[in-house]
Amino acid sequence: MKRTTRRTVLRGEKRVKSSRRGASGPRVSTPRTLRGSRTVRTRVSATVRTADPARTARVLPASLISETVAALCKKMAVDLSPGYLDAMRKAVSLERSETGIVVLNTLLRNAELAKTEGLPTCQDTGVTIVHVKIGSEVRVEGATLEDAVNAGVRRGYEEGYLRMSVVGDPLLQRVNTKTNTPAVVHYEFVAGDRIWIRVMEKGTGAENMSQLKMLTPAAGKEGVRDFVMKVVDEAGPNACPPLIVGVGIGGTFDQVGWLAKQAVMRPMGAKNADPKYAAMEEDLLKSVNTVGSGPQGLGGLVTALEVRVEVAPCHIGALPVAVNLECHAHRVQEVTL
């Protein structure tokens, strides 16, 4: 936990650098302020800001958002998420199946080749999931934020020779939009004058094996564990193990899926901030690695690299659980502008 994210300086940014603000990303599982934003509030008089927010708000050109999203899309397709290779090497040392070890080493060779040759690690470069946190003292000029994000996705997928994998109408037409847009964009409004963007390319092999269940409160921890086990067991080889298992608990029907997705989008190695849930993540990891699927479902001990839990308050009569599976081609990048 408390990982730091390098601040990426990009062309077109209008503000001069500040050594204190925005030097790090948000905490995992914590809340709704960007770290360091308190500095901003204490530094600037609130009355000045409320008097004419448009004049004093930090301005970012929409083109910078697009350029940033495009760069992230291109990079992650060929260069898997930070920490991934370490997790895979650790998996090699834990695996006892001979085939499993061969498979894991093949996945590592694939990742290296992808990086050196600039070839996507996996041909399924996915649907683009974008999580944006927008400070209340920053605004985007030139286009809506959503249009800027989608323009970036389109450009990134075109320039990066990535696969366009989105159909417009899901049922009746199913015609490829040939731009990989629209992206799935989630917004959060926070304090401060920064925009934080985390992007994932989510393949559908693992997405298709994900499940959601409305448990009752009586099901408790056991019920949650059994459901996670059921999902990982049923996924077998289809979800391209070794997996990252994102578990959302609580919230409502609509919210719990997004919790699970946020768990999947966490940086490698990051644990839940609450030690009780961090311990549960460890326990669940041990449990899911008894199902036997192993690397690529060819048998073995390493079915998952990590299990991650995200929770939210819920109704007195509810215990929603969502399990979002992620394949070993884990592609997430983030940046703070």
Partner: protein, 200 residues
């Protein structure tokens, strides 16, 4: 484990009968590609009694939608997609085209396995998420049908020592299920007490 088994396309009966679930194979020859959208068109053609745009007699179908090739590349990244999505098309494909093998990743459904048994076909898995490595075994790629489908168009690939595992052989073995059973130390709860939801 012995070395990989060399497989050449088109597949003859001797080759098919010699394959065992769990064999690591290297395919040299031709693979045709198709995934969801192309299969839908294949099936529409079959239903109308029309000829398919490709002759699949004794051939191998590879479930893949590659990334676009850059200048100088034969093909982009080209790993397998989940095979089970093509299962509802498999029986008519086997019955009407003379197809003898498919390559994908993940389990086949029970009806698909039954169809493979009936029409004496095998199923191979390539390693999912190794599209960069697999592309290096593809020597030539050309679109031969349904070009408008983009990545989902039907391609003819010439491959050399393309690595796959035999998952389902003619004897009805299932390599995934057999290996999983060997490594599994968890027992799935019985349906009556399952998952604690208390509603079913």
């Amino acid at each position: 484990m012995t070395g990989p088994i060399a497989v050449r396309t088109p597949l003859d009966d001797a080759q098919l009968a010699g394959l065992k679930a769990g064999d690591l194979c290297e395919i040299t020859g031709v693979l045709f590609t198709a995934r969801d959208a192309a299969h839908k068109r294949f099936l529409d053609a079959i239903k109308k009694g029309e000829e398919l745009p490709v002759n699949l007699t004794r051939q191998v179908l590879y479930y893949v939608g590659p990334t676009p090739a850059r200048a100088g590349q034969v093909i982009g990244s080209a790993g397998p997609t989940t095979a089970v999505r093509m299962d509802s098309y498999l029986e008519p494909m086997l019955a009407n085209t003379g197809l003898k093998a498919t390559i994908g990743k993940g389990h086949r459904s029970r009806p698909a396995l039954a169809a493979m048994k009936k029409y004496r076909a095998v199923y191979f898995a390539a390693l999912g998420g190794t599209g960069a490595l697999l592309s290096k075994h593809i020597r030539k790629a050309e679109v031969v049908a349904y070009e408008d489908l983009g990545t989902e168009a039907v391609r003819r690939l010439e491959v050399e020592r393309f690595p796959v595992y035999c998952i389902n052989d003619l004897a009805g073995n299932d390599h995934y299920r057999q290996e999983k059973a060997k490594w599994q130390t968890w027992r799935r709860p019985q349906p009556a007490e399952s998952y604690g939801e208390g509603l079913d």
